[in-house]
Structures are given as C-alpha cells and as structure tokens.
Symmetry: C2
Subunit: 304 residues, 2 copies
C-alpha cells in the first residue's frame, strides 16, 4: 500500500509491504500551506507518481491536515470514544484523475468535563499505529505545535486534551518582546532545567502561566540567565507548564508514552525525567504503522 | 513643569501648572521603537520645542520605556518596597544640548515568593499619581501589553506581579493559527463574556491556559462562536485567565483600582463585573499626576 502523512508543512509518503514493513519513504515540502490553488493531486504525482504507476492496484491512504477545511477533502471528526475499527470504517473516499481511489482518514473530537470541544487531525493515525502494537501506555503524549495528551483503553481513544505549547513557543520566540533578548536556539541544559522546574512548580501564589512567562524577560534583564540560554529557558518553562497542566487533567501517577519527532521527544523526556515522571519513547514511523493498521482493518489488504 | 510619558510606541507630553493642573497636552508617534539612531532630543524638540523655549526654567521630567536599555538614559530599578519619596530621590539627571537638565524616573523591581524577579518601567509613575491622591485602592491593576498587579500600602508599592496578557493576545491574534479563523476585531459582548467565564473557571480538571487557549480554535471549528466573535472570545479568555491568576496571587476579596487607557479599562471592568468582583476606575492622566507628584517631592517646584 501507499501511505501519506500529509501535514501543514510537509508531505511524508511511505511505500508499505503487505506485512507492514516500510519499503521506501519520501518527504517533500509540499504541506497544505505550500500548495496553491488546490493542486494537491499534482503534488502527489510529483512526490510518488512512480509508485502510483508501478503499483496501480494497492490502496492509497492519507491522513493529516490534508483532510482539514484547507486541505483536499474535509473529513468529519469522529467523537470519542473511538477505536481503530471505527476510524477504519469512517475512511472517506476520493477519486484521482486516473479513476483510482484515495482514502482519507477522519479526525477525532472529544468534549472536556466542561463541555468544551477539542479536536485532532493526523495524530489519530499515529495513535492507531501505537495502539495496534498492543502494548502502548494508556496515556500518550504527542508534543508539537498543538500537543495532544491522549487517554487510551485497549484500542480505543477515550478522551484527549490539546495544549498550545508549541505554538506559544514559536510566537514568543519569533515575534514576542521576549524574543528580542534571546540569542540563538542554543541548547542550554541548565537554563532548560530551570525553566522546566519553574513552569512545573505548583505554588499558586507564584502565579500562573501569564505571569511565569514574564520571568523569561526579567531573568534576562537581571543577567540571571544569559541571552543564549533564554530560548532554552522559555522552552523549558512552557514544557514544564504543560506537564503541570497535563497532570491536573490526566493524573500524575502513570507512565507517559511519548510519540513524535525525535528532537522534540528528547526535550519532553528530559523534562519528565527532571520531574521524576516515568515515560517510554514509542517507535518512530507510527503514522506509517497507523495507515497500515487502518488499511488492514478496513479490509483493503489481503492477508499476506 | 513639563512632563513626558515616553513609551514604546508614543510620546505623551504634558504642560503642567504649579498646582498640578494640565494646561496643555500633546501626543506624537515618537515612541522609542520609532526613533532611529538615538535621536531622542530631536524628537523632544519636534514635539515640545516651543514649550521648552517659552518656559526655560521649569523642570522637565520623563518616565516610561525612554529609561530602558533601548531608551535615552537607562535608570536603575528601585527595589520594592518603595514609596513616592524614594522614587523622587532616585531621579536620574540628563543634560539637553541647551545645558538644561532633564530628569528621568527609575523603574521598580520586586521578587516573588519564589525569588523570581519582576520589573516595571513607566507604570511606577502612574502609580505615584494614584497614590499621591491619597484614596486609591490598595490593589491596583494596570492592563496592557505587560499588565501589572500592584500591591500598595499608603504611598508605598510593596510588591507587584506582571502578566503577559496583552502581549499574548497580540501574538495570537496577529500571527497565531487561531487568528486565521478570526474576522475583524468586532466587539461581541456574548463571546467576550463566554471567554471571561471560561478563562476564570477554577476547575483544574478543565486544564490550564495552554489547553484553554485552544478552545478559541475548537469552538470556532464547531461553529459555536462565529468568526466575528472569536477575537472577543480570545480577549475574554485571556482577561478571565489573568483575573483567576491574579486572585491566586493577590487574593480575591478586595476592590481593584483600574488604571489605564479607557477602552482597555472598560474591558477589564466588564470582566470584573461578570465575575462579581468590585472595582473602581481611577482618573485618566495619572502619568501626568505622577510626574507632578515626583517633581514636587523632589523639591523641584516652588509651592504656589
């Protein structure tokens, strides 16, 4: 089969064996933000036209922001609880110019205890890849622009919580007044650790995030953190805050399964270690595994 | 005297009588961000050169970001507790090309219970104006890019807490992924109120700010808040969150004195009303009053 993990900034393509092994992978800077005038099929042809031609009969599945309102085909959100079979049953077909079918994965939605909706699109496929393995922790954490904390039972996603950690870091670093004091993106481990501890601290009299963020400025002004450490401090502060918030919503006792890009997962792992919370880093390529699991559950793959 | 409230984006100038009355006021888009190559004195001449010529002997005082590292003269921070007399004693003199003296007001610093420093620059002068009146509430709230919650006793500032509310709103509205869903800056009172209530809610299981911010996206995606209401919702959410954080640090029982620009103060007043917390809007022109109080306490003004 051909699996597409098609996000905002990149298109990642996988050519997958009948037994789920990844035969070949490609990456193109053809995320939906880079595609003008809806030319999604042209981008697909440019990236894996040869695969499509060589394997004219294998299923093609796509997940990620490609299924959002700004994408190729908008798929509905499935409400949680939802399991892998429900995701497989909800695949939305589209048609290529050749007449061939391409199947799009739906996103997931949930509502918090407060009734406010939450959504994901793309992460559900990575989660399906993790859960299909059978031994994933029951609490998964997918860091990113909009980090997801995901509560699972068996093969079912029961609830999840989005955290805007990555987006806030990017905005503050790039456009914020804080950013003007910062130099480089240098990895300053001590500054990162100080940020994690301060962000994760649970003394309410120390203020919440709106206040704590300002420490990245005041500690810089007072020379207590060098300019080259401030970006690391801010990253630690935001990740520490996320871990504190996540513990309030999802509990602090159980191990966390980390899913995502290696450098970011390493940061979260460091932060969790600092706070004495156990975690397990799940395999990479979970998107490919998830696409394979969904194709199989949808009955698209003859058993090998 | 001539008083200058010289901030990041604007220079506000006041010509003040011996009894503290404002005879004339001017505003120029000559904040420190707009001044190239350190040409502060030229900007001053352009704005109030005629006042300087007509009143060659009266004191000239300046407060605001003009005294920061990026400004004209960097003044040190006074540590809290600090009163009006201490601020007056710490005025830093500079010299104009004419030989005339200009006096710069120092900022204030404090440390939270957690030992982390906090700073203000410019607000101390507005606060001096409020405290010199003699009947200000003991808890002042100055909304803005970096909002200040200020604890006072008599004429002394004992402690304060900065909140990054305004900066986060600007970043999310202007550069954020949330902003793409938003239309206009329309004042949608219902959406604002919904945001205030959600931001101020104190159920930890509902998540903290990193999670709650995402509701501005998910409620938009679900059509529960119209695109023209999302900016108001986000503003309410951030202000409600600030009021919740502020209550944890400074208590929720006493009335809040609101100081600042009318439109922003009105938003905070609405939010405080919604949450059943009493407040009092302090007079405008507190910067001018503060500059006058500091000049008088410094012995620069002959009593009328």
């Amino acid at each position: 089969m051909i699996g597409l993990d098609w996000g905002t900034s990149a298109l990642r393509a996988y050519r997958i064996d009948r037994d789920g092994g990844i035969r070949e992978r490609r990456r193109a800077d053809l995320g939906i933000l880079h595609i003008v005038g809806g030319a999604f099929e042209d981008a697909l042809e440019d990236t894996v036209g040869d695969w499509l031609a060589e394997d004219p009969d294998v299923p093609v599945l796509a997940a990620g922001m490609i299924t959002s309102r700004q994408g190729w085909v908008e798929t509905p959100y499935l409400s949680c609880p939802a399991d892998i079979d429900a995701l497989a049953a909800a695949l939305v077909p589209g048609r290529l110019r050749s007449g061939r079918t391409i199947l799009f994965v739906g996103g997931l939605s949930t509502r918090g205890a407060d009734g406010v909706p939450d959504v994901m699109r793309g992460e559900e496929t990575q989660i399906a890849g993790a859960l299909a393995g059978g031994d994933a922790p029951r609490l998964l954490l997918l860091p990113g622009t909009h980090a997801k904390w995901v509560r699972c039972e068996g093969e079912t996603v029961t609830a999840f919580t989005t955290m805007m950690t990555g987006e806030l870091y990017g905005l503050l670093r790039r456009y914020g007044i804080l950013g003007r004091l910062m130099e480089g993106e240098a990895e300053d481990a001590a500054a990162f650790a100080r940020g994690v501890r301060y962000g994760a601290g649970d003394d309410p009299a120390a203020g919440g995030l709106l206040h704590r963020l300002f420490s990245a400025r005041s500690l810089g002004l007072f020379g207590e953190i060098p300019p080259r450490g401030l970006a690391s401090y801010l990253s630690g502060l935001l990740i520490g805050s996320e871990l504190r918030e996540g513990a309030l919503v999802h509990g602090a006792g159980e191990p966390v399964g980390l899913v995502g890009e290696a450098a970011l997962v390493a940061r979260y792992r460091t932060a969790l270690d600092l706070l004495g919370r156990s975690c397990r880093v799940l395999p990479s390529d979970l998107a490919a595994r998830g696409l394979f699991a969904l194709a199989r559950r949808a009955g698209l793959l003859a058993r090998g």
